[in-house]
């Protein structure tokens, strides 16, 4: 997988889901010039380990390539233990041996967030013709914003309506999660047929894995 901005993303052959997810995340983030600058200045090797299941990946960045593979590889200087769904309280192995690297990794993994309106509109532009996609979606943002920033209508005949905070709407529509996951966890609420939940989940699943840009 290649990316613009003078830095490339590369994965192992037959990557695991977590490898693909991070590869896609990096690829999307690198389109943002500010993040691309941070990425170009970073060198190092670190691992991420889920606290909920055995999933782990190693990310090695050098010579303009972000290489991602599954497992904790011997070269990883620090290992970050976290819940990938709620990465708030992470624990870092190797923090005191490599404090500078730990700080840099923290910036490196601080991916830019798209404004919820941009995320939603971009999603619609790319996916409105996907088979069985709803004819239209109404999105209502509950974050504290001005009146004209709180609702947008995508398409016509809004068959689906979605409500959530700016961050959760952005997460769902920018491919950082699978749609049904947002509903199941209560991050989004909405009115939709089961069919449309599945179709939206299908598309966002592909985006999450980087199989659909």
């Amino acid at each position: 997988m290649s990316a613009p901005a003078g830095i490339e993303v590369s994965t192992e052959t037959d990557p695991t889901p977590l490898v693909k997810i991070f590869a896609a995340r990096f690829t999307r983030a690198l389109k943002e010039p500010g993040y691309a600058r941070i990425a170009r200045s970073f060198t190092g090797s670190f691992a991420l380990q889920s606290t909920k299941n055995p999933q782990s990946i190693t990310i090695d960045v050098r010579d303009g390539i972000i290489s991602i593979c599954h497992g904790i590889q011997p070269g990883a200087k620090i290992t970050i233990h976290l819940d990938f769904d709620e990465p708030v309280n992470a624990r870092v192995d190797g923090l005191f041996r490599h404090p500078l690297l730990s700080m840099k990794v923290s910036r490196f993994l601080d991916f830019p967030t798209m404004a919820w309106t941009d995320a939603a509109r971009q999603f619609w532009e790319k996916n409105q013709d996907y088979p069985d996609m709803p004819k239209g979606i109404k999105i209502h943002c509950t974050s504290n914003l001005s009146d004209d920033e709180q609702e947008i209508l995508l398409g016509e005949d809004q068959q689906v309506s979605i409500t959530g905070t700016a961050d959760n709407i952005s997460e769902a529509f920018s491919g950082n999660t699978v749609f049904v996951q947002s509903f199941v966890t209560g991050k989004l609420t909405g009115i939709s047929s089961f069919e449309h939940v599945v179709v939206l989940s299908d598309v966002t699943f592909q985006m999450l894995l980087g199989d659909r840009k």
Partner: protein
């Protein structure tokens, strides 16, 4: 069978309850126990089930990342339409009857995703080309002393195979002697159900048995497999033992499901694979048919090896084909040809794992053959050596569930014959299975069979 004949049959056999039996995408049997009056009043369309019965994974979660035009918009009902030609009595439960069903919509039309209907379509296509098919499956499975509940309580650590030998062997009569009480009951019950069996024997794995059923038409052959698997489960439960169709529950040889088939002329009934005037007695039809199966083999692996565990069988010198090869009487190649005599000329497909869906696996094989005939394909060269331990090459088959899904996604021939919608749907369910393995607690860095695999597959597949 008309209404009166049905009532007479139910009376004559003292059947008060009929068990409907359809087969879902992953392979488990789906159905209900119906009072005879309900069974009769539902005909001909059958009884309703939520469409989740056809569109859910092995843990009962609906497929959430793939849609099909024939799915119900809000989990509405589909129907299990009985095929009354398959109505039989249980033989053990004296008031119980069984009937194989197809998944249909409310209008009685077969659903594209229904595995049995998919196979029927392929058989129909072969018929349109002027041929009939005879087929059979070799069932391999492991038999254990412990009950399913004991095994589950031990967290799948206590698994004592019924075996005299601790390291394996094959056709060993002492192993056979130990498992005979179990197998005698199995063969008694399947015989009652009209399933003719030819042989059973000790297989290479410790506690592994192979059961061979008589060749019949492919739909009946697949029906016989699902019924036999259900019988094996019921006998194991009745005898406080356990049987599994997991492809590789432990170290050592795994379980496959080899599939044999041959074609005959539709009108004359004459076998068409054998031609005494052809090179090696192999007819043009056989070679084109074979060529199609070989060409679609990498894509077909996804159907033939549907679970994460299926691929644990794949290692060198483990009696599993790893390449898209074929050869006369060659058990290391993916396809073994037998063409020395007219009446036994056939193709044995050796890639399939024991956990395959027999309808979908056969449909995929037939689809390959159909593609071969339709496009008059020429086969690759015969492989006359041992097809294990070879250097890497383009003939290598995919060895993981994700690689296999990718191969199928890119297989234009299988899309053409099976239908793009069906193929796309299946591919995405395999991606979901792959995701579930990684995110629900299995360790991708370990070579051991995970608890996740045991919990998901051991008793259900």
């Amino acid at each position: 069978m008309n209404d009166k004949e049905l009532l007479d049959w139910l009376d004559r056999h003292h059947v008060d309850v009929v068990r409907s039996h359809a087969t879902s995408l992953d392979g488990p049997g789906i159905g209900k126990h119906l009072h005879r009056s309900k069974f009769c009043s539902c005909l001909p369309g059958g009884h309703a089930v939520s469409d989740m019965a056809l569109t859910m994974d092995l843990n009962g979660y609906p497929h959430m990342t793939v849609w099909h035009a024939q799915r119900e918009p809000n989990l509405g009902d589909i129907f299990l339409k009985p095929d009354l030609a398959t109505l039989i009595t249980d033989g053990t439960d004296k008031n119980l009857g069984h009937c194989i069903c197809d998944f249909t919509n409310a209008a009685g039309q077969a659903l594209d995703l229904c595995p049995r209907s998919t196979l029927k379509k392929m058989v129909s296509k072969v018929s349109d080309l002027g041929y009939t098919i005879k087929a059979t499956y070799e069932l391999e499975f492991f038999v254990y002393k412990e009950s399913y509940d004991e095994i589950r309580d031990s967290k799948y650590k206590r698994l004592t195979p019924i075996s005299a030998s601790t390291k394996g062997g094959i056709y060993n009569l002492r192993n056979t002697y130990l498992v005979a009480p179990f197998m005698n009951e199995v063969t008694r019950r399947i015989k009652w159900k009209g399933i003719n069996w030819e042989a059973w024997s000790d297989e290479a794995g410790v506690g592994q048995v192979e059961l061979n059923l008589e060749p019949v038409d492919p739909i009946t052959a697949a029906d016989n497999v699902v019924r036999t698997k259900q019988v094996l489960y019921e006998v194991a439960r009745d005898m406080n033992m356990a049987v599994t169709f997991m492809a590789k529950p432990h170290v050592g040889y795994g379980s496959g499901m080899h599939i044999h088939h041959s074609l005959s002329d539709l009108r004359s009934g004459e076998p068409v694979f054998y031609d005494k005037n052809a090179v090696s007695n192999r007819s043009v039809i056989m070679m084109q048919w074979l060529a199609g199966i070989v060409a679609t083999l990498p894509g077909a692996v996804s159907y033939l090896c549907p679970t994460v565990n299926s691929f644990r069988r794949f290692s060198q010198y483990a009696a599993v084909p790893l390449t898209s090869t074929w050869g006369e009487e060659n058990k290391s190649t993916a396809l073994r040809l037998i063409s020395r005599s007219r009446n036994i000329a056939r193709i044995e497909h050796r890639v399939g794992a024991a956990d395959l869906n027999p309808y979908l696996a056969m449909a995929t094989i037939l689809a390959g053959g159909i593609a071969g005939l339709k496009h008059e394909l020429k086969p690759t060269e015969e492989f006359t050596k041992l097809a294990w331990g070879l250097p890497p090459s383009a003939a290598d088959l995919p060895t993981t569930i994700s690689q296999a899904a990718k191969c199928l996604k890119n297989d234009e021939l299988l899309r053409e014959i099976l239908g793009s919608g069906n193929v796309e749907y299946w591919v995405k369910t395999r991606e979901a299975e792959w995701l579930a393995f990684h995110t629900e607690g299995a360790d991708a860095t370990s070579h051991k069979v995970s608890t996740w695999e045991f919990e998901r597959y051991f008793e259900i597949i």
